[in-house]
Symmetry: C2
Subunit: 365 residues, 2 copies
């Protein structure tokens, strides 16, 4: 059986076997143009017989479309949010006939740059990016993307014409604070993971990625609405690394008037609170309360269950793909800014200090 260089039968082999020309074979297999149903059947039989599989690379080259999406995600697709978004993207893409080329950047802008470049060289039809910083994004300009559409996920970028799919983290966090307030919490701490800070700091960094910014502002807004004085708030911005975040939690706790509740900006920070509290034999939901952003299986299964601001993960991924594919098919489509609702899921990690004021270590009767 005649085979191509790569060892696989090509369309020429099919054509030969069916006794037709390449063009006819192609028409039969891709069902386009005019073709005799009889011939078509014949060709398909021949293809089947020799185990012909189209070379999608050749097809892509000819068509100028690779049916491939590039996904550039930050390191933490080990993270409870990004792993599920990734799965959602991969599945949704497949549903629409696209494959996904995946890269991760470890929150590093240089890596992101080169990843985008590589994917463009691989001729992806479009890009889904979780930008690692809000500061720089010339590599995402229409120019460097060569007109290929890009959809941003989880984080806004100012001054860029690109469809963006984010979540209502502001509202979610605001609500979380009000929830805690309604349960009697008055001294609140906020633990925020930021890539832009080395070590930890009580000062809010000048530059935050938009999702973290929204969470921070949401917490702030909630506290302000509830009349929580800045003095009764403690803030800690810290690097997303276990030792550091645990030290940050300790610092938050070791004050004259320790908070009755800690709000954390992501799961890693939540875990840090869990760990430090555990080491100190503090019971979550009693000695210390806790709310985090992003739901997870373990947050639900733990005792006590962790109260969370939940985001519509699957939908984020699906919409990102759908919007991207729509733009690939019609480049005149205007970019959209999509913000999906979050939901506060109350479990047992927030103590009710109204019913049980004695749980506050500063309680005096």
């Amino acid at each position: 059986m005649p085979k191509s260089k790569t060892g696989r039968p090509t369309i020429v082999d099919v054509a030969d076997r069916a006794g037709v020309s390449r063009a006819t074979a192609s028409r039969a297999l891709s069902s386009y143009g005019r073709i005799n149903p009889e011939t078509a059947k014949l060709v398909r039989a021949a293809a089947e017989a020799i185990g012909y599989r189209p070379n999608e690379l050749a097809r892509a080259m000819r068509a100028g479309k690779s049916k491939t999406i590039g996904l550039v995600i930050i390191a933490d697709f080990t993270n409870a949010f990004f792993d599920r978004v990734t799965k959602s993207i991969v599945d949704s893409a497949r549903g629409l006939g696209y494959q996904v080329l995946i890269t991760n950047t470890d929150e590093d802008i240089a890596a992101e740059r080169s990843a985008v470049e590589t994917l463009i060289e691989k001729q992806v039809d479009g890009l889904i990016v979780v930008p690692s910083t809000s500061a720089v994004h010339d590599h995402l300009s229409n120019e460097s993307l060569n007109g290929k559409p890009v959809v941003l996920v989880d984080r806004r970028l100012n001054g860029i014409r690109a469809t963006t799919v984010i979540t209502e983290d502001f509202v979610g966090c605001e609500l979380a604070v009000r929830h805690a307030y309604s349960l009697g919490h008055r001294r609140m701490a906020f633990l925020v993971a930021t890539a832009s800070v080395k070590g930890m700091s009580t000062e809010r960094p000048a530059m935050l990625i938009s999702s973290v910014e929204d969470r921070t502002n949401g917490f702030l807004q909630g506290a302000s609405e509830c009349g929580i004085k800045p003095k009764a708030q403690s803030w800690m911005f810290c690097e997303d690394a276990p030792e550091i975040s645990e030290a940050a939690v300790a610092k938050l706790l070791d004050t004259a008037k320790p908070p009755t509740i800690i709000f954390t900006s992501n799961n890693d920070m939540c875990l840090a609170v869990l760990k430090v509290a555990g080491n100190r034999r503090m019971i979550i939901g009693q000695d210390l309360s806790l709310v985090t952003v992003d739901d997870s299986q373990w947050a639900a299964a733990m005792v006590p269950g962790i109260t969370v601001v939940s985001r519509p993960v699957e939908l984020v991924g699906r919409l990102a793909v759908e919007k991207l594919v729509a733009q690939m098919q019609d480049s005149t489509l205007a970019p959209e800014k999509i913000s999906l609702p979050t939901e506060l899921i109350a479990r047992q990690s927030v103590a009710n200090l109204i019913l049980r004021p004695e749980l506050d270590p500063l309680f005096k009767d």
Copy 2:
């Protein structure tokens, strides 16, 4: 500026601008063959000037190598093991100059089949597969892979000549049981997630994927070595779905002589135990002990920390890529069966019934 159909400058544009032929331009850019360093510099400058980026698809077609690896993973790359393996694979591949096309199969053999086919059509240079069943694997034969190498991860497949990277789950589980025995546990339950079972069953299914089989056998071996009578063992094989696994846990607990410890075959099952125990106000590490396979951040951060059989996740992914790339470069390489050591990480989820025999609900003094 003359541009190609796709809008990007091509090598012809570079050649024109540099006033040389395509061939020379190509030589300069890919640095092969004889070329005048002066000319080379000229060409590179021209390329830079017009923002030339090679079309890797065209290159791949010409070379018959796409510098792309296909990854076929089961659904659960949301799972604490596969998400990290995926990250490790993506990163390692990138380090060696390869990109990763990712697909998931939801543990479905039909999806796996078609995923493999699609990836082959996309001309990946090799495949990394987490096979969803040990029963069928003709789609992974040398034939259907068209001679492209494949590396199997996490699961063995009999009768297939392919490099396989798995972990010593047998030993890990055996050790886990002996650990529990040494702490005084005598009535043990085993909760095993299996895709081949609908609902739950106390009967061991005829067919298990190899990793689950190893774990099951490891538990069994450990119990037998410790002289735990089959009567003092309870087994439950169940579908990997929350409602079902939780029901399975309940069933395990609701017997005249309930186990003092439950061993779970994966994190989902572990979570099910956590949830049911929590609902019943049973404290892990006291009223009920627990050991699971696969470490995770939350298992470490929780109070009590969960004792786990830990697997070298990052290494699994890295080796899979390295071995695959080696085979892509030298197709005569013999397949290897690699089994990486596991480690028992003892935390506080296993009660010491020797020091505190009263923790056994059946304790009489």
